[in-house]
């Protein structure tokens, strides 16, 4: 999918996320994962690390080789999306105390991912 569509999807998901109260932790973490993945894919296309026909579905589904290759394109983005993904097993699928803090952390990471992706998009357009 092309970077513009990824941007639009990410923004749509973030608009919906803003409607959700803090205690709906499961869907807030999932929303952060979905939107951050769109921002990541837009960036990887813009950086020519992946063609528009190749999108990352989940960072943990990548081979180690591929994770390292994409991290060479943008390590911080890959690490932040991976950190959001790692919040999911225990806080989305589990019933462990502390999930609200995990959701806040996911949203913080999403904001940083968005900022980096927008900067990459602006740089590509201006360059």
């Amino acid at each position: 999918m092309n970077p513009t569509l990824h941007f639009q999807k990410a923004q749509r998901i973030e608009r919906s996320l803003a409607k959700l109260p803090a205690h709906l932790v499961e869907i807030r973490i999932e929303a952060a994962m979905l939107a951050a993945t769109h921002w990541l894919n837009a960036s990887l296309h813009a950086l020519h690390a992946n063609g528009e026909s190749t999108d990352v579905l989940h960072t943990y589904m990548l081979t180690v080789n591929e994770f390292r290759r994409l991290s060479a394109a943008h390590q911080a983005l890959m690490e932040m999306v991976a950190e959001i993904e790692d919040l999911r097993p225990v806080n989305v699928r589990g019933d462990t105390p502390g999930a609200e803090a995990a959701a806040e952390r996911a949203c913080e990471l999403l904001a940083r991912v968005r900022g980096m992706a927008q900067a990459i998009g602006a740089q590509v357009h201006s360059g």
Binding site: I13, S16, E26, P89, T96
Partner: protein, 137 residues
């Protein structure tokens, strides 16, 4: 789900139905004693996070063949599954069929897709409620 508009907020509305329905299937699988009801949370098929007070974050990943499904079919359930739970899983497959095209890809969600997901979700939860109602008090 009720806070989200089915079309304007499709991605998260859909994802909520998928999460809720998958949890319902896991409940039914526990009730039917097909999978164990335990504190083991999947990160991928065959890998579960279990409590461990000595581990960073309070959980560690272990290999386990049987447990909660992440999505219907991930992992596939081995062994006999009661008919009503199979129907719940089939309803979830209808929902799941719209996941990647509409949340990851370029497919535009439509009123028809929303209606299909609503009907499948209602069927899945209805079957769970029936199962719960049949549990002796």
């Amino acid at each position: 789900m009720s806070l989200l508009h089915p079309l304007d907020d499709f991605e998260l509305w859909f994802w909520s139905a998928m999460l809720g329905g998958t949890n319902a299937v896991n409940v039914a699988l526990h009730m039917a004693q097909v999978t164990p009801a335990e504190s083991a949370f999947p990160s991928q098929p065959g890998v579960y996070h279990v409590p461990d007070e000595n581990a960073a974050g309070g959980h560690r990943a272990v290999l386990q063949s049987l447990g909660d499904v992440l999505h219907v079919g991930r992992p596939p359930i081995q062994g006999p599954v009661p008919d009503d739970v199979q129907r719940m899983m089939h309803a979830m497959e209808i929902i799941e069929s719209h996941r990647d095209p509409c949340t990851r890809g370029e497919s535009e969600p439509t009123a028809d897709i929303v209606a299909q997901c609503q009907a499948a979700y209602a069927e899945c939860l209805g079957l769970l409620r029936k199962r719960l109602a049949e549990v002796p008090a």
